[in-house]
């Protein structure tokens, strides 16, 4: 995309605004939820990165944190929730089960949520330490900063 001074500054400001005010939707299913709770609480504190507000409605959330195993039964629900979110939206897959099915390679578990929805950041671990989740969030913030204004309609499809 053509960059001149005004549009790049605008994109920089937009990126800055978006990355430091993420409202996240914790789609928690399993054990990784415990580490998410630790990351959200006082010891590790996700709020200092601007992402402290949990929004339990997909309409109000920018970021969906898929935390824990997604089973085949849960897959339609994850897809519905993702589609209900308004643009711009990002997805972080937290934990080995969300990334790739984890230790569960069987009839009941989806082998990675990227088989259902597009994913921006993968945070591996079983469960990942809270610091790893925060690093995933910081990596996403870098990504948001670098992405331009009209990337979304060109790149991502369901």
């Amino acid at each position: 995309m053509a960059g001149n001074f005004i549009t790049t500054s605008f994109e920089a400001m937009l990126g800055w605004g978006r990355k430091y005010s993420l409202f996240h939707y914790p789609f928690i299913t399993a054990c990784c939820g415990m580490e998410y709770m630790s990351a959200a609480c006082a010891h590790f504190d996700i709020d200092r990165f601007g992402a402290g507000w949990t929004r339990f409605s997909p309409r109000q959330a920018d970021l969906i944190l898929v935390v824990g195993t997604i089973t085949q039964k849960e897959a339609p629900i994850l897809k519905t929730v993702y589609e209900q979110m308004a643009e711009p939206k990002w997805v972080i897959a937290v934990g080995a089960c969300a990334v790739s099915g984890g230790i569960y390679d069987n009839y009941a578990v989806v082998q990675g949520i990227d088989q259902i929805i597009p994913v921006d950041i993968f945070v591996p671990g079983c469960p990942p330490r809270p610091e790893m989740l925060l690093e995933g969030l910081l990596t996403l913030q870098d990504k948001i900063q670098k992405e331009g204004h009209d990337w979304r309609w060109k790149k991502k499809t369901t």
């Binding site: 399993a30 630790s38 089973t71 849960e74 230790i103």
Partner: protein
Amino acid sequence: MQDPSPPTRFAAAARPESLLINMGPSHPAMHGTIRIMLELDGERILNSEVEVGYLHRGFEKTCEARTWFNLLIYTDRLNYVSPLINNLGYAMTMEKMLGLAVPERAQVIRALMSEVSRVSDHLTCLAAMAMECGAFTAFLYTMKAREFLWDVIEQTSGARMTTSYIRIGGVRADLHPDYAAHVAKALVETRKVLKDVHGLLDKNKIFLNRTRDVAVMSQEDAIAYGWTGPCLRSTGVRYDVRKAQPYLVYDRVAFDVPLGERGDNFDRYMVRMLEMEQSLRIVEQCVALLPKAAPGLTADGMPPAEAITEARRQKSGRPIRLSPNLEGSEKAVSKDIMAADGGAVIPPKEETYTSIEGLITHFKFFMKGHGIRPPKGEVYFAVEGGNGELGFYIVSDGTDRPYRLHLRGPCFHIVSALESLIKGRLIADVIPTFGSMNMIGGELDR
């Protein structure tokens, strides 16, 4: 083969003039994933149906494809707020089948770690229950205490949550030399938090209105539903596996079993609060039963490669400097933390490096087709989990894999009573009721 699924009886029985609402499976108060379908008249629940299975991860079928040693990692992820107790249940069931004698020190370490795990289970349960009723401060305080408890577990086992620390035959590694200081700090902080939470919630008018006399369960119904653990004790029935069929060192430590009276949400909350204090008492007594700390890694030994080369000719008896991630499992301590049976436990690394018998034992333990071989038969053993009687039913056909492994998950039975508890109540009562049950998806759905 087509299995015709009948329509849900909830949908079939729903009246056309009432409001049908779906709670879950992705819902802040659903502790993971469970779906409650509600039929409402205004705010009053006329009928409900609970749908589970959203976290069914095929634990039992996967375990049939794994070796006895390997499937330990899956047991961590069952009741994932108290993972060490699941490890313990599985390990003790296998020890019953194999007839292993676990050393005394390992028993005390296991009891200590189980109780630390139990306290973190109750803290998480009450944190979620309080937060969903609006008491966010209680959530933050209890999470703070949980961090100190997880520091204790992490220092010894290396992981905060899913540790696979308690193994068949004993524990993976001895306690860290400085563990007593961490435990003392965790006890002080947890007791401070418990005192604060008591002060915030016990006489809090709002909390009492939401939990007192809400979702009352009678003793007969609780037993008919198969309730065990804190939920059963809140109705007044005195049944705790640690007292009824003592295992580990629970017959040697003094602790009380708190009972409730009315079986309502508040009693379930209070029983858990009092149980945490009792668990901390047990932890203190376990620390007193372990006088000496582990010696720690030998800093001035020879590296393993040199030891292996030397052992080909002659054994000098010089100590070996093991890798830091093997700390706690050296030969000097292994007789205290692991059973002596060569077929069921990993031999200490010094033996593996320097003697042919040790090498072959190690090889046979891990090689596919070899490994632990329990006798043919079936066995059931239960421990007191965070939610009640956590039982493992294992069928062995003499090979290196289980023929059938079944978990008796306590919260399966507790949640099966949810529909009857919320019928006729307001929709807002679902939240503290469900929170006080401590549904853990990994244990419910397996």
